[in-house]
Symmetry: C2
Subunit: 139 residues, 2 copies
């Protein structure tokens, strides 16, 4: 399978694990619990570039990620988005939002600088996410 993760996505995230279609990443921004799902396919930019059966898998994985984030964090709302204006590789943001988060009710994209996780906090959240997403390798 030809798949190479965009270097900017790799630099900004931790790997959570591989779902059926997507690699699940945790954005290294402790202001917002924020997953990014990247279909493990090359040369895709738009949702309509994916084959229809894979689109159905993508939306199921996004729904599962959103439901997991909401139940883990108690978020008020989940934001799901495929933008790609800066990084064209198709990727879907799944972000847990709170009425007291620093961007509410605006979007998280472009709203100030990321605040990196403390290593232990990142490790704990990744382990919780792996369990919630039924991924192996939780520690």
């Amino acid at each position: 399978m030809d798949f190479r993760l965009d270097s900017r996505l790799a630099a900004d995230t931790f790997v959570v694990g591989d779902l059926g279609l997507c690699r699940a990443l945790l954005m290294n921004d402790s202001r917002f619990p924020w997953l990014i799902l990247v279909p493990r396919r090359d040369s895709l930019s738009e949702i309509h570039d994916l084959a229809a059966p894979e689109r159905a898998i993508l939306v199921e994985e996004a729904a599962m990620a959103g439901e997991s984030l909401k139940s883990l964090t108690g978020a008020k709302k989940i934001n799901v988005a495929a933008l790609g204006n800066v990084v064209p590789q198709l990727h879907v943001h799944v972000v847990a939002r709170f009425e007291d988060d620093p961007a509410w009710p605006g979007p998280v994209w472009g709203s100030g600088a990321a605040v990196a996780y403390e290593p232990q906090a990142a490790a704990r959240l990744i382990a919780d996410l792996r369990r919630a997403l039924s991924l192996n390798g939780g520690d």
Copy 2:
């Protein structure tokens, strides 16, 4: 079928027509060619609130809307998003983006005030969209 469109969505948009699952609306903001898809189901807020078979339809309708907008407008990128921080009724934004649009490469949400369409321009775009989306009633 119990379905009532949120009054804020109704106030900001023109009706394009009903797809299999969603009501397709055109945002009355001439800065960005911008569709909003609203599943005609009541009491849904999150993508994971929809039943899985309807999620598959939702993503197909979003893909079709995005492909139509891209081919009608020659956009550089399509942005697809379900946010709902302000209007909780589940709705999906499908926005055609251009490198010279007033928000590029940032998100459209919260980026300045909408600029209403001239009536003839809105009517023309709605007719084009109805044709592209195979909806009846194009004028």
